[in-house]
């Protein structure tokens, strides 16, 4: 029961992180919010695996951890090109 409640709390945390995606000023800030989503999603899935007894959710958490890392590296190496100025306020 406790782990279910904590999973909901982390989900609310995630919703609060959405504010940074909207505001952002640079695209790096938005990417940081995506990193937050990755780490929090892993925690939520582990808590849910404990609460519901679904062992497969731990594998899903593993995939999330891997995907968050690959996404961020792809962002830095490919997507964040020189078109964007440093201190812009969109």
């Amino acid at each position: 029961m406790l782990s279910l409640g904590l999973a909901v709390f982390l989900l609310l945390n995630l919703g609060a992180g959405m504010w940074r995606v909207l505001r952002g000023p640079t695209s790096a800030d938005r990417m940081l919010a995506a990193q937050l989503f990755g780490t929090t999603a892993v925690a939520i899935l582990l808590l849910l695996a404990e609460a519901s007894g679904g062992a497969a959710l731990r594998d899903v958490a593993l995939v999330f951890a891997l995907l968050a890392a690959v996404t961020a590296v792809a962002f830095v190496r490919c997507a964040w090109t020189d078109g964007e100025e440093g201190n812009d306020t969109e």
């Binding site: 945390n13 780490t39 062992a55």
Partner: protein, 99 residues
Amino acid sequence: MTLSEYLSAALLVGGCLFFLAGTLGLLRFPDVYTRLHALTKADNVGLGLIVAGLALQAASWAVALKLVLIWLLVLLAGASVAHLVASSALRKGIRIWRR
């Protein structure tokens, strides 16, 4: 409840507090470097505490080992991503915040 269940619950709640601190830092800090500092450290510690709390209740050693492996992967990924984003931001000329 046994002692280990109390300990596990305390670890889980503590981990969630670290996640709250990380999100607060991401929302309130002034530039991308300070946000990186808040996010990557607080969240990885929070995940570590949650993993420790869940590993105490784990049914078998294999499950506990898997939880720890997931945490180590997230740690490794978080550290390298933080370095990549910070050095890339520095190269693009995003100024460091000063009071």
